[in-house]
Symmetry: C2
Subunit: 553 residues, 2 copies
């Protein structure tokens, strides 16, 4: 069986400029090529398109609670897009950009899989068009200017014990989680505790993905709070005069990237905040632009529907005015059996079904979206297993479709495509927000925990409770909450599979993201800097003398 990279490398790609011209009506000069198969939409093109009416229906692809290899959310997004295009529905898909961290760690690339991939796969998985590098540098420039300001007299009066801005690198590097910086004497600044996050956890990443224009990007960058004075007054990037140079570094990164699927259909791949530690959606600018260029726009939100879909609705849609028309919930028999922990065969599957059921109910009742369950088929799935899932879906009143795009490309997702077209008929439902802006931060956390996670309530640890008070006192209580927790459970404990009950969400730390305009609640033992496994995927990646990469998967 060929690997993802072998399938991708065997594909014949169309040049991106003619593809964009033919499919999107974009003139060559409206695109900024990066090689012959990747391009960015230029700022003037974005301004022209912004004035066109919205013509597309927005379809959200989300998933049940995943296992570590993932259940095929990106793969389904690609397959569904190709399926829709095959049945004559003009479609653009909108994906997130992969992070190098998991690419070199365990999970491998994140550009789909099998015959449902975006290409050029190696480029997209490695540096792509440099967006993550630009975000990392904008983040780290702010950090350098911050320590430099303190070193040169600290006119703003920053308290080195109250610096909240961390540095970032696009790497799983546990040794950088917690460091002591500025050691070595007066020439190196004032020693302080510091640490690195992975780039996808940077507030700059969230800002890039939520900004709806260059002006909005600049406004948000200026609002970033880097730390506090001894009397707890916030100090911003604007106070440090760092926002202008940060925006200059992001000039190209803010432009959406255009590539193609293996079947030659257009795909926007732009922005990549993690969905456990950030809001997990591709950029607002890419999604909005796509809605002006196609009849259907299929997008994904990271990890399970408890994280990705909730943040898609309560953060991305709330602030941008986007209106999804339906949601596709991706499930695999493998993952459902995993949720029936301990049992075997059909019994495991039966015990795992409550996970699917809770996600379906959340989508239908809380997010108020027409839902479709899409079973991402594996070769080993038996007819009995499939029948069991179908029966469960019937009881829930939700349509269940088998999809085999991984093996067959878009042809394997035509049924799913037809189901989606049907679900999108009629006008988009009113947005199912879980809470109002005016609710307190505690009430917002409680709404997500009890209604989506099935928790009994929220336990805010003393340090976090104090932060909650401080954030509210500073006037940020109106912001939405972004819950950072494990992606492997509805709860904040990765070991509680299925549809756990009686659990409480344990909030360990609050981080105010005044630029991204949300408040992150860090729950359980989730980390903002992953580590590499014992035998990282990087050990098996190589390059032949002709420049061809192997071992990336």
């Amino acid at each position: 069986m060929p690997t993802d990279i072998e399938i991708a490398q065997a594909a014949t790609l169309r040049k991106i400029l003619p593809l964009a011209q033919e499919r999107l009506g974009l003139h060559e000069d409206e695109l900024v090529p990066y090689g012959h198969y990747k391009a960015k939409l230029s700022l003037p093109a974005l301004r022209r398109l912004e004035k066109l009416p919205v013509r597309g229906k927005l379809v959200l692809v989300t998933a049940i609670t995943p296992t570590p290899p993932g259940e095929g959310k990106t793969t389904t997004t690609v397959g569904l897009g190709d399926g829709l295009n095959r049945i004559g529905a003009n479609t653009i898909i909108c994906l997130r950009e992969p992070s190098l961290g998991p690419c070199f760690g365990m999970k491998g690339g994140a550009a789909g899989g099998g015959h449902a991939q975006v290409v050029p796969m190696e480029d997209i998985n490695l540096h792509f068009t440099g967006d993550f590098h630009a975000i990392a540098l904008a983040n780290n420039l702010l950090a350098a200017m911050l320590d430099n300001h303190i070193h040169h007299g600290n006119v703003l009066g920053l308290d080195v014990r109250r610096i909240s801005w961390r540095r970032v690198v696009d790497m799983n590097d546990r040794a950088l989680r917690q460091i002591t910086a500025a050691l070595g004497g007066p020439g190196n600044g004032y020693p302080r505790e510091d640490g690195f996050d992975i780039v996808v956890a940077s507030e700059v990443m969230a800002i890039l993905c939520l900004a709806d224009s260059l002006a909005d990007l600049k406004r948000r960058l200026g609002q970033i709070i880097v730390g506090y004075t001894a009397d707890k007054k916030p100090v911003t990037a604007r106070d440090l005069q760092a926002d202008g140079a940060m925006a200059a570094l992001l000039k190209d990164a803010i432009q959406p990237n255009l590539v193609q699927t293996l079947e030659g259909h257009p795909a926007f791949v732009h922005g990549g905040p993690f969905a456990n530690i950030a809001h997990g959606c591709n950029s607002v600018m890419a999604t909005r632009t796509a809605l002006r260029l196609a009849d259907y726009v299929v997008t994904e939100a990271g990890f399970g529907a408890d994280l990705g879909a909730e943040k898609f609705i309560d953060i991305k849609c709330r602030k941008s005015g986007l209106q999804p028309s339906c949601a596709v919930l991706v499930a695999t028999i493998r993952a459902l059996k995993h949720h029936g922990q301990g049992a075997d065969g059909l019994e495991a599957l039966r015990l795992g079904l409550p996970n699917l059921e809770r996600h379906v109910r959340n989508v239908q009742q809380h997010y108020r979206l027409p839902a479709i369950v899409s079973i991402n088929r594996f070769d080993g799935d038996t007819p009995e297993e499939i029948a069991l899932v179908e029966a469960a879906c019937e009881r829930l009143g939700v349509r269940c479709v088998l999809a085999s795009h991984w093996a067959q490309g878009g042809a394997g997702a035509e049924d799913l495509a037809r189901a989606v077209v049907q679900a999108c008929e009629g006008s988009a439902p009113p947005l199912g927000l879980l809470y109002e802006d005016s609710d307190s931060l505690a009430a917002k956390l409680n709404a997500v925990a009890t209604r989506i996670y099935g928790a009994d309530g929220v336990d805010v640890e003393p340090a976090a409770a104090k932060q909650l008070e401080e954030v509210t006192a500073l006037g940020y209580g109106h912001l939405p909450v972004c819950i950072a927790k494990t992606q492997y459970s509805f709860s904040s404990d990765a070991k509680r599979l299925g549809a756990p009950e009686g659990h409480r969400l344990r909030v360990r730390e609050l981080r105010l993201h005044a630029g991204a305009e949300f408040v992150t609640a860090i729950c359980g033992d989730i980390m903002t800097m992953p580590g590499l496994p014992r035998s990282p995927a990087a050990e098996r990646i190589g390059l032949d003398d002709g420049g061809r990469i192997h071992g990336l998967f």
Copy 2:
């Protein structure tokens, strides 16, 4: 007077693909475009060109000991290239890529100045084609895999007290010079001392610039020594199985970048090792390729001729077989007066002339190159001052040419161009190596210090003396030396201007770069991570709502 960025933004650029086709005979598919005005030469194109005969003469642009703003070496390289093209000599220039560190710090951009610039100036100064980002990640992937290896059982037996591999960031960030990493408990690894260098000081940067092929790049990456076991055996990137993934990250970065000068002539801008802390030359692959495509190739080597030219000859040419035909030594009246410290007017200039004289003698006698002194004219230079420098050159038997490309573009460098054509007549002189591979490392340091720097000798501090013994015992005594010292003096003390005598070169630390294949001797108080000044240039950089950058200079 318009600023550099204003001049650059007012220029009308030619699209790079037709320019490359017309001027270099490269087919569109042999180039990888990055936007419409930047491109990389593809690996297949490099392989095709490698087989062509060398047709070009190689001209080295170097300089007297500079002042902090620089004396216009890059500007002269650009102006001379345009001047040569104007007088009908088919010329390509080969420059180094700018680093973001100085760009946001004090010096500003490094893409030339005035009417002698390479464009698009903002892109080249900021992310360009992502080469530095790729180098940073390859460097930091190795670091992450190293700490990860130790964390997961340390089968290779690395001694955490003897790790030599440091992390990097493309930023002036003094707070990262010296850190304690892996704090916070067993989950974060084994605490140890660590630090960050600026990307241009990374051994990966040196390797990319010295490799003559992808195969050579891979070989060198594998040879990198990251640290030692408790019994002082070296551990390499190959031992950690990191070299394959590092090469994959550098797949695009190894391809030379093509841009244009303000006058529309081709320029390779590729690789950017600093010349004080590294070997300071653009890539061997760019230079070799250019020599197959043009009759003249003009290249620069960083900082004064004591650093740049010495390393160009003793490291880059020694290993690659490149043969320069002549050297242009850039001088400014301003810098010469600066070297006549304390005095005024003509007297300062007279006192500063020995700096020029020593550099001229070095180029002629030690590097054995036909030399031309090029005075980079400033508006305030008086006829008396110019006459004084011309008289000094006449005494030295070296041609002195006035060049005003900064104000006039290539037209201002036509005299210089004609002088260069004349100097290049006849065959290239035999390479003036300062020492033999078989000399001891101590003898090599002594040769550079006494013959080029005018020092009485070398003082190797005890710790460095031990390292020198160890490096030799490990079998690396045959490598060339790369002296890292201040660029502001012939000596290792930045305050000793002019042509100091009686000084001794103080070697503080030796770093073995088994992949780059040289041994760096760190002298005086030079640092491998600069800091930002009190008011960094970044504070004045911004982006308007249309996406235009301002304040970059």
